[in-house]
Symmetry: C2
Subunit: 137 residues, 2 copies
DNA sequence: TACATATTTGTTATCGTTACAAATAAGGAA
DNA sequence: TTCCTTATTTGTAACGATAACAAATATGTA
């Protein structure tokens, strides 16, 4: 069981109830949600929750490296709990985003053609396994 | 000298003046522009040009594979003339996008963990060579 | 408990994009 | 060429995601 309060403190973020809940959600549901999805998921439990808070919180988390901001495809921003770098696959049929376990040589903190790399994203797009099987049947 | 009129026809797109000009721009300026940048660049020469036309045209081009839609970072859509797959680097300081010439094994048309890949993007983010040098001085 | 500060909230504004219908242009047939 | 049908373009209005802002609330500390 992770102490999210402690984890936020370690990243220099004062742990408010809203921040803890949002971080908890991102940790428990690895669905790469948008800001709005997170808001919708939490607003029942926290009726006074504001979207602005969700946006502000996600921004702060991303800046401090607690989570990662993904700009996968189609102009939509998604968020995920910061784990080891991995490949993302987005299905153009069902819209689902998969984590690919295959590892890759991450260029983070290296230099390429003189540019210093701080983030390295690999994004795939196509038809997912599940949609391929449905199409067959 | 490329015959853009012919090129559009080959892709099944009837070549209007607007379409030719937009394609020409994307071919001549490899700056990964946004739709708005393209509009701003062309509106002087074509005063009646509409933004809707630019958006519609870019969408049609991307669907037919004439250009590629890039969702690099920060929720912004950019476009580039369709060339061979390559790595993109975006500078977080100056915002410029660089093409990295280093090649990579593209997974296009292959399967990974059961998913069929149709697009393969590698996006880097960091401080570009030019900004690094400026910071030193 | 009280205070100063940080956070949250709700509203409003902004930006990129899309929907839509009217105006215009283009291409083919007579 | 001229007419006619169809596709394209245009301009406006609407939309959704995000950000700005100030007021309200909560927080941590003395």
């Amino acid at each position: 069981m992770i102490d999210f309060k402690e984890l936020l403190k370690e990243h220099g973020i004062p742990p408010s109830l809203q921040r803890i809940k949002i971080l908890e959600y991102l940790h428990n549901f690895k669905t790469h949600p948008t800001a709005d999805m997170i808001y919708q998921a939490l607003v029942d439990e926290m009726p006074t929750l504001s979207k602005t808070t969700v946006y502000n919180t996600l921004k702060a988390f991303a800046e401090k490296g607690v989570i990662v901001e993904l700009s996968l495809f189609e102009n939509e921003v998604r968020y995920e709990y910061n784990t080891t770098p991995h490949i993302h696959f987005k299905c153009i049929k069902c819209g689902k985003i998969y984590d690919i376990s295959k590892t890759f040589k991450c260029l983070k903190d290296e230099k390429i053609e003189g540019h210093k790399v701080s983030e390295h994203h690999i994004n795939l797009k196509g038809i997912c396994k599940s949609c391929l099987e449905n199409a067959k049947g």
